[in-house]
Every structure is written in structure tokens, then in C-alpha cells.
Symmetry: C2
Subunit: 376 residues, 2 copies
């Protein structure tokens, strides 16, 4: 899908993801008055379609910011300093979410799982029972750093059964994987524009359900820029409290059309196919998945780096020799895995091209290794 | 300057301002890895040129956000809850800055002036003497809502003589009006990309001097996304703590080149000429400036609406009949003035065209009024 603008790179990071031509083109539009009817119609229409993609009758609101800001928006609007919360951590982004909670002086209880594993409802339930007073549970829907998709509907049910708020990092799932905010009982969902939304980074997208609005009424954090109530009051008039990031709105508008023209369920099916094809290809190459395959993500695949090689050797050779961009690992596992993004503007040919490049690079690197071993 | 992309509108809002073709074109670039050397070089180069435009050897840092976020960044990084601060208010944006300070539970002392007037060093000095304990003074360099430029160097001196921090809203001055951060002793300067920077909205630009860094060490606000220290640590490596808004970086990069290719002092001179030409034209039309002419801004001119007319009548007719977009007033003076932006990508022909349209509209509306009066 990479024929636009002379770009030949097969850009397979797990975000930012490549921009479709229609999204790039949309950003060629000049400025419009940010308090006029043009903006009002645009923003109203964007929010309507974003609600559809969140499968919610609640609110969706946008900020000019990065996905990580969504964590802060959750904390300062739904909680108060000292509130006990449970942070479930299955990878680097869950860990960062916990760090934000600590920075804002919540009383953080952590449930850490080995990276590559999913959180199961049983484990969550027993942890919840030991921490009955937590006011919110932070869940990662899709952990970008390990290629794991948590069983979110089941986890959300466990949390709600105990009365806590369900706060979900959906940065690398929203618009790519099924995410039924109302049906699954998610109270607060955050994501960023640069993943399956197929937009440049710079927009934080937040879904807010009725229980989150109740919590907002009780929250005592001082806040201004992230204030949910102000954002909603303005959104009802088709406006944002401060100047909106117009080009990113233009881009998001175009991307929403692409998603809904394809059909949201078709988008989910395409991601399922791409995930399945990637995993099959990885195994055909004799490689192992880093993640527990039962919970493997359909937006990003983490591949265990074969013994004797580093992630950097593989990613650099793929870029240098094949113009294919994939990522290494994160945190303490930066050299232990490579991660292939297959979300957003991505089709089977992109995945095939990526697998071919990987196959070729492994042969080269393996050959080099043998030569070096032989010499030694 | 409005021939790009088939746009014929003379877009003369005081922000967002029109995008030069080079800036629009820059946003056609595809995504790059946000943790790679390409981003490192781009961000390092952007910050170097942004420091040049701030005339500072201190730091300049960027966030994906709107200009208003700069107020919050100042508060949560330089102060602590309950700190006494002096908010000087000469218009709507000064008022909003004070509201942010109140939202964050600073102890706010206000110095309000009638809208249209500038703050003079004498008035500031006597207020400072009555409030010797304030830790920071919030100053508006250029008040977008009234077309007034405060005498910032003199005001900053008064504040520093008393030892308080000089925090400056330069949203509609930075990159358009002289702003000598180090020479004038400004500790913290905030602006937004969508004014004289000639970029789309979505970037917050912040200048931080040594006394601001000292204050940062003492600040006790909880913070994550706005943390100055994290932003600086990453900037030293050419990175941002969270995913950077790549297309806005591309745009900013192109705009910085335009500014520095023209020459910063030439940019200031052009704005001075445009301001002077606008004010002369307004007076030639028999209209009055809203603002005290001794402190009239060279980026935005506020024009008093003639008796018997409203701002809306004029702005709507200018758009409908001449495709010229200007703004009405803000806050309680929304119908009392129209505001003409002449900052960023703007030349003499744009100002002439705007004045001609205004002249024509006034004749039409005046004629209508006479007919209506005659009928009555």
C-alpha cells in the first residue's frame, strides 16, 4: 500500500504507521476559522464517526497531544490524589501507565505479568479480591511492546463486578481490533492517531462512558487543558476549548472515511488476516513468536530474536538491504525481539514483503555467522 | 500571498494564519521512525533555529498541544499550589491565563486594565510593591483580543528587580515581533504554532531560561506530560518523551527556514510595515482604532465598530462579498470591534485587499442603514 508520494519503504513499525494518500492529501487544505461553522460541522462529524468506531453511545473527545496524554487525562479527570488504583502491567506501556499514576500520587497497586503473557480473568480476579478498595483498574487492550492482546471483555467484567472503573489503553487496538466500548462496559478508552487510525501522531482520542462522567464529578485534581467537562461542553457546540489542530482534524476526517468506507468489521477482519498471515510466516521461517500465541495481537507481532543475533542486526539489515522498517523491542527486552506492525494502512502484500525481507536477512546474517564461526 | 492550492480567500484572522505553500508541501512527507536518527536530526535542528528566533541561549522545547497549554506548562513546572502570583490582564487572553492559575490553585492577585490599554511599567511597579511576595508575574506580550503590544522589556525589568519570575504569553508575538528572551530577561516564554510561526495549530513552543530551571527544581505539582525536565532530557538526544507530532515538525521545520531565509529582523520590519499600513488605512477610512495607538500591535489591529453597526455585520459582509476573513471581538467586546490579523504569511497586498474590502463593505452597510432609516 506504499505507492504514494514516491515512498517505496515498507514501513512496518507498530506506529507511527504509514499515511494513506487520502490522508496526506487532506492535509493540503488551508486553514479555516477555528470558531466558525466549517469547524463546527467538521468536528461534529468527526466525533460522530469516532463514536461509531468506539461502538459507544457515550462521548468521544479529541485533544492535540500524543497517545500518552490519554493516561494523564484519565488520571486527572476520574480520580483524586491518594486514590487506590490497580495497574495491570504486561509490558512497557502498562508500566508507563503505572508511572503516570505514581507521578500523580495515586496509591498504585501493581499486577505484573511476565512480558509476552496476557492477563487472564482469574489472575485479575484474585488480585481484585485482595484489593477490594481500588477505584479504577488500568488495563492495556493491546500491548504494543510485546504483541499481546488482553482478553479485554472478560477483564472488564471482572473489574465492573467489583465496582471499579475500567480504564483502557487502546492505543494500538482502536480502529484495528474489535473494541466494543459499551457492550464490554469500558468506562474510559484512550488512543492515539498514529496507529490503526492511519493518521500522523498528534491527536489523543478519548472515549468517556457514563460511569466515567460520574467519577469526573468527584475528582479533585486541578486541571485546565485536560478538563473533560470543558471539552464536552465545547464539543456539543462543535468546538474545542482551545485552538484545534486543524490539519490533524483534516487527516482524521479522511481516515475515518477510509475506515467506514471499508466497513469497520471488514477492517477488523483484515487485521485478523494480517495477524494470522504474519504469525504463520514467522513460523514458516523457523522463528518463534515472543508472545503467547493464544493471545497474539493482530496489529503487531513480536518475534523472538534467534540465538546469536540481536534485534538491531536484523532491523538494520532489513532497512539497509530491503527498505523494510520494523522495530526492535522495548525496555529491558530491546534486543530480544523484533516487532512487525501490521495495523492501519497495511495489506497482505506489505506483510509478504516484510516476511521475504526478514527471510533474506536471516539467511545473510546466518551465513555471516557461519563464516565467522568457521574462521574462528 | 494567497495563491496556493487554489485558495483565493484573504485569510486575515489573528490566527490561525494561512500556511505558505512550502509549509503545506512539507506535510506531504511520509512518517519516519520517531526514535530514529532522522527524527533526532530534525528535532535538534528545529530547536536550534527556534532558539535563534527566541534570541536565547536557553532552551526551547515543543509539545503537541495548543498555545493555551503553554500556560499550564508554566504553572505546573515553575510553581507550587498556593504560591502567590500576579496576573496582569489587558484583554481576554490575560484573563484566561489568570483562570488557569486559579484552576491550579495558585493564589492569584490580578492587575486588570481596561481593554485596549497597555500595561505601563509604573502601574506594574506600584502593584508589585503592594505584592512583594509574588513568585511570578504573568505578562501578555501581545494581547490578541485587543491589538495591544505591552512594553515587555520595561515590564520584565520591573518584575526582575523584585525577584519574581517573568512568565510571558508570546502567542501572537513570537516570530513576528521583536522578542529578545535573554536580553529582556524573560524566564519563560510560550507560544503556539498557528500565529506568526505560519504553521497549523497543534504545537506549543516554550522557551525556558536559567531562573525558570531553578524554579522547576522547587515546584511540587504532580506532572507527567508537561514535565519540563523530561522534555529537556529527551531533547538533548533529539527526541521527545512521547511520540512527536511528525507532520507538525515537518511544517515547523519548513516555516523556520522561511523565517530565517527572510531574516528575522526583516520579518520584524515587515510586520512593522504591515501594522503601520493597516492603522493608516483604518484611519483613512474614517474609522478609529480600538486600542491605544501608542501601543498598537504590529501583528493584529483592532478596529472600533462604527456606531449603528455590529462586528458580525461587517465580518459577514467581508466574507460573503469579498472573500476576506477577519475576526470580531472577544469576550464582552465581541461586537465592539473587528480584528485584522497581519502576521505570519502576509504582505502589503493582503493588507491592501483587506482594507479595500472593508471600505466597500462599510459603504454598502452605511447605504443600507440610510435606506432603512429613511423607510423608518
Amino acid at each position: 500500500m506504499q505507492e504514494n508520494c514516491g515512498v517505496t519503504t515498507n514501513f512496518r513499525l507498530p506506529g507511527p504507521t504509514p499515511l494513506p494518500p487520502a490522508v496526506l492529501q487532506a492535509m493540503q487544505r488551508e486553514m479555516i476559522p477555528h470558531r466558525g461553522s466549517g469547524l463546527n460541522e467538521l468536528y461534529t462529524s468527526i466525533l460522530k464517526r469516532a463514536r461509531e468506531i468506539h461502538r459507544t453511545d457515550g462521548d468521544v473527545l479529541l485533544w492535540p497531544a500524543s497517545g500518552s496524554a490519554g493516561w494523564e487525562i484519565a488520571v486527572v479527570n476520574l480520580l483524586s490524589p491518594g486514590d487506590p488504583v490497580l495497574c495491570t502491567v504486561i509490558g512497557d506501556f502498562g508500566d508507563r501507565f503505572a508511572k503516570v499514576a505514581e507521578a500523580f500520587r495515586l496509591e498504585v497497586r501493581r499486577l505484573d505479568l511476565p512480558w509476552g503473557q496476557a492477563l487472564t480473568p482469574d489472575k485479575l480476579k484474585s488480585q481484585m479480591e485482595r484489593n477490594p478498595e481500588v477505584k479504577a483498574v488500568f488495563l492495556t487492550h493491546n500491548e504494543t511492546s510485546t504483541g499481546v492482546t488482553n482478553p479485554l471483555p472478560d477483564l472488564a467484567k471482572v473489574v465492573r463486578d467489583q465496582g471499579a472503573l475500567v480504564v483502557v489503553d487502546a492505543v494500538s487496538s482502536a480502529a484495528g481490533l474489535p473494541l466494543l466500548m459499551d457492550e464490554w462496559g469500558l468506562d474510559f478508552v484512550l488512543s492515539g492517531s498514529q496507529k490503526a487510525w492511519m493518521c500522523p501522531p498528534g491527536l489523543t482520542i478519548v472515549g468517556v462512558g457514563p460511569r466515567a462522567w460520574d467519577a469526573y464529578q468527584r475528582s479533585t485534581y486541578p486541571r485546565f487543558f485536560w478538563d473533560l467537562g470543558a471539552a464536552k461542553d465545547y464539543a456539543l457546540k462543535g468546538m474545542t476549548p482551545t485552538t484545534p489542530p486543524l490539519t490533524l482534524f483534516y487527516a482524521f476526517d479522511a481516515a475515518l472515511d477510509l475506515i467506514l468506507d471499508e466497513g469497520l468489521e471488514n477492517v477488523w477482519r483484515r487485521h485478523a488476516r494480517l495477524g494470522e498471515r504474519t504469525r504463520r510466516g514467522i513460523k514458516e521461517l523457523g522463528l518463534s513468536l515472543f508472545e503467547d500465541e493464544a493471545f497474539a495481537s493482530n496489529t503487531v507481532t513480536a518475534v523472538a530474536v534467534p540465538e546469536g543475533l540481536t534485534a538491531k542486526q536484523i532491523t538494520q539489515a532489513m532497512k539497509r538491504d530491503h527498505d523494510v522498517v520494523v522495530a526492535g523491542g522495548q525496555g529491558h527486552l530491546s534486543e530480544a525481539m523484533i516487532r512487525i506492525g501490521h495495523m492501519g494502512w497495511c495489506d497482505e502484500a506489505d506483510v509478504e514483503g516484510c516476511l521475504e525481507a526478514l527471510s533474506s536477512v536471516l539467511a545473510e546474517l546466518g551465513a555471516e555467522r557461519r563464516v565467522v564461526s568457521g574462521v574462528a
